[in-house]
């Protein structure tokens, strides 16, 4: 039976908050953030009703409406009789999200071989000897400093931005995979060989299967760096994408667009993270995180 709440529990380590407490506490900072924003917005709008630095709720709704239902400035205006679906389909936020998502998922796909290299580095000692030092060194290169080289090599369109993401995150993922796969107990590998496994069986059916949940977690942790490199690329050289729009809006002081965009990006990453976490739990019911 749950213990009644005492104030001293707030500083206790060996306490188990009731579900209601957990849920209530986790929303407090959101509510506080919104309240603070509203407060400062009201104060600034009292001084200047046209203030654009902290847009009011009305301005924000207008901005949101413009993002979700109207095409971007550079696009042709939509037929006035267009359906809601057509409006959303040709909206600014849809176009930007689609462009950014295309780059993001292409980079994510290209990171799969990087993880496989990390796996091979851990399982096959010669592969490890071949790659390890180079990857360790490469990992220390600040990916953004490679941007000029990438622009020269790949041009300023899609591939330079995708490669920036891949080069920025791949060494970390490779090393992470290498460490995780290297942590599989030796006994498991020996046991697998006594059960007539081949080298590839051990690599893919024993080690990879065991470390897959941790690799998915590693990808989850790298979603933000991946988005960071995407934003860097899009802000510097792009004609569409979420970060491009934020950069453009900054010039116009369009906080009513920038803030919904920021929240949208955070929501997208949060949802992707939640999806990966859910998938991981469903696919690997045996996984017992430490």
């Amino acid at each position: 039976m749950a213990q009644p709440f005492r104030v001293s529990d707030l500083a206790g380590i060996q306490v188990r908050p009731a579900r209601l407490w957990t849920h209530s506490l986790s929303w407090i900072l959101f509510v506080a953030g919104i309240a603070l924003y509203a407060h400062f917005s009201i104060v600034r709008h009292r001084e200047n009703p046209e203030d654009r630095v902290i847009p009011s709720a009305t301005q924000m709704i207008h901005g949101l409406k413009a993002s979700v239902l109207e095409p971007a400035e550079e696009d042709d205006p939509l037929d006035p009789g267009a359906t809601l679906f057509q409006q959303v389909r040709h909206s600014m936020i849809w176009k930007d999200t689609a462009s950014s998502a295309r780059r993001f998922f292409t980079a994510l796909l290209l990171l799969v071989p990087a993880m496989l290299i990390g796996l091979h580095m851990a399982v096959f000692p010669y592969v490890g000897a071949f790659f390890l030092l180079f990857v360790l060194f490469f990992d220390k290169i600040v990916a953004l400093s490679l941007l000029p080289i990438l622009f020269i090599v790949f041009g300023i369109d899609e591939w330079s931005k995708i490669m920036l993401m891949v080069i920025g995150v791949a060494p970390t993922l490779m090393l992470d995979t290498y460490n995780i796969a290297g942590g599989v107990p030796k006994e498991q590998v020996v046991k697998a060989f006594t059960l007539k496994s081949t080298n590839l069986d051990v690599a893919y059916r024993i080690v990879l299967k065991q470390v897959l949940p941790q690799l998915i977690n590693s990808v989850r942790l790298n979603l933000k760096p991946l988005a960071l490199f995407l934003f860097a690329g899009e802000m510097i050289a792009s004609t569409d994408g979420l970060a491009y729009r934020i950069a453009i809006m900054r010039r116009h002081m369009g906080m009513d667009i920038i803030i919904p965009y920021l929240l949208w990006v955070a929501l997208l990453l949060f949802s992707l993270d939640a999806l990966l976490r859910f998938t991981n739990r469903r696919l690997h019911p045996w996984y017992q995180p430490l």
Binding site: P185, E187, Q188, V190, K191, A192, F193, T194, L195, K196, S197, T198, D201, I206, K209, Q210, H284, P285, W286, Y287, Q288
Partner: protein, 310 residues
Amino acid sequence: MVSAALRLVDAVAAQAAPQRTEIELRDVSVSYSAGKEGSKTVLSKLNLKVGAGEFVVILGETGCGKSTLLRLILGQEFPTEGVIEVDGKPVMSIDARCGYVPQKYSLFPDRTVLGNVMYGPENAKSRFLARFRPSFFAYRRKLRVEAQAYLVRMGLRPQDMNKYPHQLSGGMQQRVAIAQALLMHPPVLLLDEAFSALDPSTRASLQEQLQGVWQESKPTVVFVTHNTSEALSLGTRLILLRRHHEDLAGETNLVLDMEIPRSSLPLSMRVKSLEFQELLEHVRQLAYESSSLHTDDSESDSSVEEGTLA
């Protein structure tokens, strides 16, 4: 249903009686580099011949090279000097003729109990695309029945078959690990302190089961333990090792190699007999003289005997 399953196991065991395998170690020494201190010798000038169907128990204090010896036979490590042969052929890599049960991490955590036990035979039967043939599915169905029968025999309940290893107790996990190794019908079975992390009653029950399996199909068993009572009650032969010291340079660290007198008594009764107790005292004395084995051994021994009697 259980009795039908057991009959099936007996039939399969008789059908797949493992071929006899002899293990031979000649002048085997193992040294590791120990940085500034030069090298550390773990095994020195070890000569050993394990006959086919023997149940050899290797006993000794921590650091005397028991597990190293097992890894050498398995092909996981190689000697600095000397030769190891299984069935007349030098051991060059991990030998799939050996069944292996380590103390921990013996099961694949991502597979269910049945998945763990069926993994080896499935591998042995066919690879990659051949697993999509109808004949493989038929084989799998047959194997499933055999695996279930083995597991029932090892004391698992039908409802445990689809559990993951983390959902089982340590004792249950070791039962599955033994079944996993046995289903491959290995001519050599290597157990590395396989029961040392278990409670006395589980340990006693697993000892009985291992004895039963060995008596039935007589694989060559090499069992590493630091528990004298367990060693004497299970094996047909005892190898006592001591830790290698500087002043033993050039000498073997084999202290004792003796046949353990057989008894027709069941395992639980055997440990209570006077002969057994005298032998136990004798081996403990030897172990005491050659090392500091007595300190932790006496504690674990008493617990095992309690378990065996329970």
